[in-house]
Amino acid sequence: MTWVFLLSGIFLGWSLGANDGANIFGTAVGTRMVRFRTAAWVAAAFVVIGAVAGAHGTTKTLGRLGAIDAPAGAFVVALAAGLAVVLFLARNSLPVSISQSIVGAIVGWNLFTGRPTDLVTLTTLLSSWVASPALSGAVAALLFVAARAAIPRLKIHLLEVDVWMRTGLIAVGAFAAFSLGQNAIANVMGVFVRVSPFPEAVRLGPFRATSVEMLFFLGGLAIAAGIVTYSERIMRRLGSGLTSLSPLGALIVVFAASTSLFLFGSAALQDFLVAHALPGWPLVPVSGSQAVVGAILGISLVRRSGIRYRLLVNIAIGWVAAPLAALIFTVVGLFVFQNVFQLPVKGAPRVVGTSLPASR
């Protein structure tokens, strides 16, 4: 039965891949700098690596917000978060994010089941929503100024700049996909960590995979499937219509946005900083779309090409609307599952795969 419940997480991963895959390579494919097939497979490969390799930090943060301990509860939470974005909000062209709807859904589960919501974690999550686009905007603005000053001085032939740009778009796209996998896997599979149907550990030749790693691998594959099967249309629309970015602008936007995702998602970097007595920051799943919008606004500020304040307003609406919609969907869904299908949505925890390293 738990396997069936996992389907909502897979659906969530697939829709995240379709949307956020477009953020990674949208402008590159839309402007025909990179072929869709190349973009899709590079993104798919690196998103899986990111999901499995360094993804525990953001999952732990979501786990602190709400420890969902029943498969049916996890199913409803993941489904509500996905539906809030896919069915309700994305249709109104708001840059909403699963990173935000999942928070609303978890708080909804806490409210319905009477479990306490960790306010410190909630505050951390909310502040990161503002910090992430602001950070990517600042990074993009700085990089844009530096690139605009440096590139003409390098005196590289226009055609060679083109080759560098294509190579850079693929390399930065790979980094962005890795960061996305690392940061967003918590949204997709985080709620299933305590109810994972996978065995505690599996040994495959020289490789040893824990239950959580297998769960994240599955989630990574779901995101990759979303990128390969459904992101092409969104990519073409992004590249040709929504933004009027040059390939250099696209390169900077994707790099700045993925830097933000990476910083908020990398447990390894966090460990390194803490080990060297440097200030760390919370590991939080943040929105790729909003990081991209932040980066575009950063470049607009530097170019003085005018800021579309509507974009900022839409982001702010998304901060409220996405979690609120997911919260309502979750409460309704949990009520239906508990009272109509007679399934437990909380309760006897099956503690599998919670053996996340204590230091993280």
Binding site: P152, L158, E160, D162, V163, T167, P247, R303
Partner: protein, 214 residues
């Protein structure tokens, strides 16, 4: 890394070759005019053949570059500008060849005291074309240097206008029949057109340069 740039370097070489053909072609134009005015028929015929060869080479290189730019989907955001630039700079050597050919066909009778004026006019046009070629090279390799060359194109175009005006006044104050005057003015206009063509391309190039730097 070399593999990555192999195709690009070949195309860069073709663009350089095209610009060389245009530059050398316009220099040959200047020599051809001088030969005609000095009545050195043998060298004039040699230069007539040479400019036709440069023009034909420039045409085929331009077509090849355009095809490769599209076939290999290179520089998607600047491709239209580059194609416009190459097609228009090709008009410069076309004009030079056409004018020299007209000298060969119509054999205008240029009085010896106007020879220096025709030479000065052709030199101003060729100087404008030479700086245009430098501006286009800079567009590909060193965008910051483009304005330095463009302003020289404009300078020589104005100089050509001034020289052409002076020459036409001299022609029409002479005591020769009207048909002869009109024939000489016609050649004055043709030699002057070279700098106008260069100015047209420089105007486009100025816009393309702004587009690339914002």
């Amino acid at each position: 890394m070399a593999l990555l740039f192999r195709r690009t370097r070949a195309l860069e070489a073709q663009i350089d070759e095209l610009l060389n053909a245009i530059s050398e072609g316009t220099l040959v134009f200047q020599l051809g005019i001088a030969d005609y005015l000095q009545k050195d028929e043998e060298r004039f015929q040699q230069h007539l053949k040479a400019i036709a060869a440069f023009e034909s080479k420039a045409d085929s290189l331009r077509r090849e570059i355009e095809t490769r730019l599209y076939r290999e989907s290179l520089i998607p955001d600047h491709r239209g500008d580059v194609l416009g630039l190459l097609e228009n700079i090709d008009n410069v050597i076309d004009e030079a060849k056409k004018t020299l050919h007209q000298f060969a066909v119509e054999r205008p009778d240029v009085p010896p005291d106007l020879t220096a004026d025709f030479l000065d006019l052709s030199k101003a046009g060729v100087d404008a074309a030479q700086h245009l070629v430098s501006a286009v090279r800079a567009f590909f390799r060193d965008i910051t240097a483009v304005p330095d060359h463009i302003h020289k194109v404009y300078f020589y175009e104005k100089e050509a206008d001034r020289l052409a005006d002076r020459l036409k006044r001299k022609i029409f104050t002479r005591d020769i029949d009207l048909a002869h005057k009109i024939h000489l003015r016609y050649f004055c206009l043709h030699v002057e057109t070279l700098s106008d063509r260069a100015e047209n391309v420089a105007d486009r190039l100025a816009i393309y340069t702004i587009k690339r730097t914002i």
